[in-house]
């Protein structure tokens, strides 16, 4: 790699810091750019679904054009095994993830942050109890837990995502706690107390806002990706979003039955959508982590 340094001859007071975008690695900028693109696609799809601006309706069956490939007739992304428009169903599929995914994120971040601050800042019994809770949830297979809940209630995506949020909370809690432990080693928390800041200011402003915000943003992006993957797994087992409501998971599952016949498209299209979206969220998290925390790629 070629590195170019330029010696400026200005007085020190005339320097301004480079913007965040300029001083970050190009790779990270590309990652975040792609992630933001995916995020905006998800948002647009959700809004299109809500407003009903769709090329076809979800249950519109075109009996002459079943399992058509992309570009057949007016179906841009082809049709599935019942001749329903793929693009419409893919757009509507987002509905299954967007609000439930947000619920999972809110639960995971809210509960996780609360537990992390309690165990990291207060310590003592709270820390011991929360550590044990974390250990227990870590040792339970998550899918089994979700299936148990589904069996006990009903296969509702909101209930599932609530459980996903609950099981994610310990991971967030331990991240927040580690951060606080790290900050405690530097004595700035002690200094803040000595200089008269209130506990609320210290926790909300100095710990959560200044020191944990990137961590929480990253956890949120990963949480969305996780929500999509969990729903896919459950749909494959038949416990996810139920037909005829489209979700990417049950589209794959339904399409997979026809794969052996050589009609791969009905399950490949949602699979590709999942791949690109999950990848987008992961790269967004990764890139944001590097850019906001000022890390360098080797």
């Amino acid at each position: 790699m070629k590195i170019k340094y330029i010696q400026h001859t200005k007085d020190v007071s005339q320097y301004s810091e480079l913007s965040l975008l300029k001083r970050s690695d190009k790779t990270d900028v590309v990652f975040v750019g792609y992630g933001l693109f995916i995020l905006s696609m998800v948002l647009i799809s959700y809004l299109l679904g809500v407003l009903g601006w769709l090329p076809f309706t979800a249950d519109d069956m075109d009996m002459d054009l079943m399992m058509a490939l992309p570009g057949t007739g007016s179906h841009i992304l082809g049709t599935d095994f019942l001749g329903r428009d793929m693009l419409t169903r893919l757009i509507l599929g987002i509905q299954a993830y967007f609000l439930p995914g947000l619920l999972a994120i809110v639960v995971a971040l809210g509960l996780g942050t609360f537990m992390g601050v309690l165990s990291g800042y207060r310590g003592g019994y709270a820390e011991t109890v929360i550590t044990y809770i974390n250990n227990v949830t870590d040792s339970l297979p998550r899918l089994v837990l979700i299936l148990l809940v589904v069996a006990a209630f009903k296969p509702d995506i909101y209930i599932i995502m609530f459980v996903v949020g609950l099981t994610n909370a310990p991971a967030v809690a331990s991240l927040v706690k580690d951060k606080i432990t790290f900050l405690k080693q530097k004595n700035f928390l002690e200094a803040s107390v000595a200089l008269g800041l209130s506990t609320r200011t210290i926790i909300f402003k100095h710990i959560l806002w200044y020191n944990c915000r990137t961590l929480l943003i990253i956890q949120a992006t990963l949480g969305m990706a996780e929500a999509i993957l969990i729903e896919t797994s459950l749909s494959y087992l038949g416990f996810g979003v139920q037909e005829p409501t489209p979700s990417w998971g049950n589209m794959i599952q339904a399409g997979a039955n026809y794969m052996m016949r050589g009609d791969f498209w009905p399950s490949t299209a949602p699979a590709l959508a999942i791949l690109l979206t999950v990848l987008g969220f992961h790269l967004l998290g990764d890139g944001l982590n590097n850019i906001l925390e000022g890390k360098r790629r080797k």
Binding site: V12, K186, N187, E190, A191, V193, A194, G196
Partner: protein
Amino acid sequence: MSTNPLIKIEDLHTFFYSKAKQAFIRAVDGISMEVPRGKTLGIVGESGSGKSITMMSVLGLISAGPGVIRGKVIYDNGRIKKNLLQGLDDFVDLQEHDGTIMQVDKDLYGWQQHSEQLMKNIRGNEISIIFQNPKAAFNPFTVIGEQIAEMVLLHTRINDPVAAKAKALYWLERVKMDAPEVRYYNYPGALSGGMAQRAMVAMALASEPALLIADEPTTGLDATIQAKVLQLLAEIKADLGITIMIISHDIGVISSLSDYVAVMYGGTVLEYGSAKDVLSTAYEKKHPYAKALLASIPGLENIEKNGARLKAIKGEVLDTIRVVEGCKFASRCDCMTDSVKHKCNTQQPPLEDIGGGHKIRCWLYQ
């Protein structure tokens, strides 16, 4: 204007419980000292003699479970007069037997709540502090200027963020930071040790306190920067009339700033008096520990006196877990004469005034 001292510490005790050794550590064991308004008190002593714990007790920062504080810390700035340890005793049930602590029952939660209540308008507002490691004392993820401005908003009458920023810039300028407008937007990690210490001083002063406690303000700085920071503190003291408590193991640092000096050892004050009395090598009446400390400074004078070798104080710093019957310094003392030897080993000497406010805790001068 009253002539009361700004802060007066009376018979301060701070104990910790060591679970591993099943014993109480008497980190601070009966300290009395006072800081007159506008003057500087230097506290000097080896590591582990209780200097920092004294400071933390004054600020109510002792929160470790079994930490116990007794005594009085009277803060009086003319407007506010209160004992910073008022009523803390009520939360602690202490059982003593022959000067040894047998058992302590403490209502930790109530104690902390009460301590917070007592300190509410004191910390930051009235008493500010400069820490040993200035870089670690800043929030690493935000720029220093904002942290200083936050102090201004919190502790002064200024409520407008723009005015607070201007004030923060003023303080950065005041502590002679080069290019304050640039440094305002620097993260703590981007500053050198000396600059970080200046920023720390600016942050401590931003709340316009009456008392500034400097805990080892020059540790980790090289000699020239050390001199500059000390000069800065001296200028601030002269300009603002602020009262300073400076804690250091370095007699050089103490002597350049202090009006009064307290020499601490093993959690007690062994010598207290004006800087002239305590630190001048010419003055004969002196505690053996202070004498030994002065003799161990590297310097031309001591080289002439002792030859090329530096004179170290033999032995180790007193283990404050052990309860000493006699003088705390007896085991390391060079000056013990036969006439007082028995007393030194069996009885703790009182802190006696030997004239002009110069107090020494030694049987030699009783």
